[in-house]
Amino acid sequence: MNNLENLKSYIDDNMNNIMVTNEMKESIQFKIKNKKHNHLKWVAAIILPIFIFSSLAFNEQISYAAQKILSYLPGTNKIFQTYGENKVYGLLGSVEMSHNESYIKVNTAYNEDNTVTLTMEGNVKIEKEIDKYITVVDEENNKADIISSDIMISNSINNNDYQWSARCTYEFLKETNKFKIIYDNVNIPIIMSELPGIPLETYNYISVQNINTDIAVVTNYVEDRLEVNLLSQSYDKEKSISFPLNDVYLQDSNGNKFYSRDNNHENTLYFDRKLENGIRLVIPYVSITDNDVHSKMTIGKYDSLPLDFSLGDKELVINNVEWIEYNEKFNYRTPENKNHIIEEAAQKIKLTISEGIVNSDKLKLQNISAVVDKEQLNEYIKEGVKVIWDDPYADINSQDSRDENIEIVLSNIKNTQEEVNLIFYAPVYTTVDSVIIPLRP
């Protein structure tokens, strides 16, 4: 085997004696039956009272139904607030249209008033101007206007691995839940379903002002566990929110903390607790990535430090720059199968960055990304082929930090460079204060 595309058949052919046998199936079923038997006792002793309790709580919730209505589309981690006026529609599942090897897949769709946001992927030809290739029309064939798009294309169209993914928002003439996506005379009909609303009052919801974000909590009992779904909505579309799931805990009215037993890494946590009066969910900090800001800067070997710069609203300081000379080594093998070891002198710089003292928004810088102008990086050309160098430092280029300083290492710089042009982008901040959300018992 010399081609990755043959990996499946290669492994399957060589592992043809590794397969699930009837004995293995019987063993799984035997273990399930044992588990079920023990489980029934738990159901009788614990789950039924909790179930009755939660049913009572649910009735109370209905009687408290407030005007503010929350809806959410599972998987999108997005909150929709309607105040009961507009309906919220979403695509439950995904829709794919394929022909031979070519496909377009719509992974999510949801509306907000008369706009619809779609996330799609595919391997049919598109370019950055996606609206030249993909048209969206309503039921009466009125074309929707594309009002924002974010497209990522991997490899060139001639490459077998050509693939793209896109997130686009379209504006329709009026609110709609049925529309068509048209690509080269192929129609993909999309029908979105109305998302169920959850009434909110003072429980299970908080608006965090300094990050302009709403956070809502949806709870549910699953077997003997309390399932807690964390949903967030940043009103700044370029900012994304994440939670430190392992550090989130429940706190009862006596101040006792209870950490989750498990989480699904997608903002769903499982606790061995039941809801009770005075119980609160505590998120020690929230992380916010700002994808819309960048800052250019030139740093020379002999610049005096510290260096101040701005990134979005933040004032940052480069306290230290360390220039380190090293040799890059890698193997090069010609098409004739001759090996060469290539060694080239290079430089890397280690930056130590902290926040300026003027920041008072109760947000702390946790991480920052940076790149060097590619013209200033080593590039290897041998025998008419271009060598793309694999950066051994890529995994440690920047380090998340809860300390005062952030360290960034940028390598593969030409050893003749006396200065480098840098772009800083995608800073990650964390809230200094905890976010505390009372949960409805």
Partner: protein, 172 residues
């Protein structure tokens, strides 16, 4: 969203459909047949217990693979599992010889290099080329952004190309 009940028939269908592929994936991860069989059984026990949590926003295959990979990682992390395996190894008359199978597989230089990649690169290559999952599905399984999954996959390919075919990438 309505969630499907897991009947015995449906569960058996899941094992029939995905069991062998999951077992082989476990084997590639753990390189030990006894452990792989345990991990595969554990995976399907978790599938059974958590089916009501399966929200159908991903495919069954993606969801089961995610459970499988987490189970294998736990096995690799858990020294107790390894110890138990070592303790029992003399008692088990293993019909499957790990050595034999991996000797056979490792005849391919490319396969060898894949198995010697760092864990995160190995798993993405196996998921993309062996399990034939899309980048979107892989990002769901690994809980990373699609963009990061793309980057990781291309870095893994690049590492393999560095090792195998010489460093022949793009025409300059």
């Amino acid at each position: 969203m309505s969630r499907k009940m897991l009947t015995e028939e449906l569960f058996n269908n899941l094992i029939d459909e995905y069991g062998t592929e999951i077992l082989r994936l476990c084997y590639l991860y753990l390189k030990d047949y006894q452990l792989a069989e345990d991990a595969c059984q554990d995976t399907f026990l978790k599938v059974y217990s958590n089916f009501h949590n399966f929200n159908r926003l991903s495919t069954e295959k993606t969801w089961i693979t995610r459970i499988c990979i987490n189970t294998c990682k736990n096995y690799l992390r858990n020294p107790w599992k390894r110890k138990v395996k070592l303790g029992n190894s003399e008692l088990i008359q293993n019909e499957i010889s790990d050595q034999e199978i991996f000797d056979k597989l490792e005849k391919s230089e490319l396969f060898n290099f894949i198995m010697n990649l760092k864990q995160k690169y190995k798993e993405i290559i196996l998921m993309y080329y062996y399990q034939q999952l899309s980048v979107k599905e892989i990002s769901q399984i690994l809980d990373i952004l699609e963009a990061n999954a793309y980057t990781r996959l291309s870095r893994a390919r690049q590492l393999l190309k560095d090792e195998i075919g010489g460093i022949i990438y793009e025409q300059s």
